[in-house]
């Protein structure tokens, strides 16, 4: 990744979009604000010189330390992070985008944090976003049909969240 040079291009194209960056990491990543995510992605795919035409993977990382003892030593605030791994088949270059979201929408447990869906930009995002919604409980606005993909349709709760409690029974099957 050509690091800083590329960063300026994004900064120039979308002022205020970049909320943070970490170029020395093993996989240097760029943090983008939730509102600017969709335009940046569209720009990356179509107009940037190294066309990122392939979205490899969307992951949601739930930053919450459940047990109180360790929570005290933790430096970061509880939040959710969505990581987009892009790849350009033309110039064979990869890029990591991150978006920070609150764990619950305006801290109301139960209402899911929302971010714009990139299904319109890359068709593969359709299923990946459904899986993130299904397992980590992130709302993707503008997604064609946001349904659970891996868990049964009527499953409550989002398994990959740190504070997830397994239901006692599901349709008569003892779960715990």
């Amino acid at each position: 990744m050509r690091g800083p040079a590329f960063l300026e291009k994004i900064e120039a194209a979308f002022p205020g979009a970049v909320a943070g960056t970490h170029l020395e990491a093993i996989d240097p990543w760029v943090e983008v604000t939730a509102e600017k995510l969709l335009p940046v992605c569209r720009w990356l795919k179509e107009s940037s010189d190294s066309r990122f035409d392939s979205l490899e993977c969307i992951t949601a990382v739930d930053w919450l330390e459940p047990d109180p003892k360790k929570a005290a030593k933790v430096t970061w605030q509880p939040h959710t992070e969505i990581v987009y791994h892009l790849w350009s088949t033309v110039s064979r270059v990869s890029l990591v985008l991150k978006v920070k979201l609150p764990r619950w929408k305006d801290d109301l447990p139960g209402s899911l944090p929302a971010v714009a869906s990139v299904a319109g930009v890359w068709r593969t995002a359709d299923w990946h976003e459904r899986e993130v919604y299904d397992l980590s409980g992130i709302e993707f606005t503008g997604h064609p049909d946001l349904r659970r993909i891996l868990c049964p349709e009527d499953w409550e709760g989002f398994p990959l969240r740190k504070d997830y409690q397994m239901p006692l029974e599901y349709h008569g099957i003892r779960a715990k």
Binding site: A119, R123, D126, P144, D145
Partner: protein
């Protein structure tokens, strides 16, 4: 091993020939009635198959193998397969049982009875059928049928009346004599041909009327259109 059963001289305790005849006849009529009475469409079609199969059995009993095989192949193997096709495709749950109101049953019964009466009356009035069959049937073969198609009256016995031939010419062969003899020439060939041509015309007309009328926009894009709204 088993010869074709020639009529035995004395009437045995059970005459297999007539027993089988009764069996096939009752099967044909019984299943025909069953077709009318049953309410399940598919069973109706199946009874029709059995009844026509029984009539094919009757033909075989009468020694007319060719006609029996033809009945099996054309009626049962052809028409009824299409009929069962149609019934099977449409007989989804709601349409399987057909209720006929009692009024229709009475009406149907009347029409059927009158038709039966006409048939019986005409059957017993035909002169030729009352006389016993001409000669012994013997080993059946398709030759008489071929002759009939050529217009030779196979059922009437030509030896009774022959017209005089033009002087000096002796009939070279019996068939030529038969062909010249007016009473043997009429036969049923002409009406048979007319009926079949008529049937052909009817079929072509039916096919034309029932031809699939294509929708303005082909179906698949239309349904896709419906879903495009919902789909990705």
């Amino acid at each position: 091993m088993m010869e074709s059963p020639t009529l035995p001289v004395f009437v045995a305790a059970i005459n297999w020939h007539s027993l089988l005849f009764y069996l096939f006849a009752s099967a044909a009529c019984g299943f025909a009635v069953a077709v009318v009475l049953t309410e399940n469409v598919v069973r109706m079609a199946f009874y029709l198959v059995l009844s026509l199969g029984a009539t094919a059995g009757l033909f075989f009993l009468a020694g007319a193998d060719f006609v029996g095989a033809m009945q099996l192949m054309i009626y049962v193997g052809g028409t009824l397969v299409l009929l069962v096709f149609g019934v099977m495709l449409t007989a989804q749950a709601p349409l399987v049982s057909i209720r006929t109101s009692p009024a229709d049953k009475v009406l149907g019964g009347l029409v059927a009875a009158s038709l039966l009466a006409v048939l019986l009356q005409s059957a017993f009035s035909v002169e030729a059928w009352r006389r016993p069959a001409v000669g012994d049937v013997g080993t059946p073969s398709a030759t008489p049928l071929g002759m009939a198609l050529l217009g030779v009256r196979v059922d009437a016995d030509p030896t009774t009346e022959t017209t005089a031939l033009p002087a000096g010419q002796r009939p070279v062969s019996a068939t030529q004599a038969a062909a010249l003899n007016p009473s043997t020439r009429s036969g049923y060939l002409l009406p048979f041909e007319i009926v079949s041509v008529h049937l052909l015309v009817v079929l072509v007309g039916a096919a034309y009327l029932a031809r699939a009328k294509r929708r303005r926009t082909p179906r698949s894009t239309e349904t896709a259109g419906l879903d495009a709204g919902g789909g990705p």
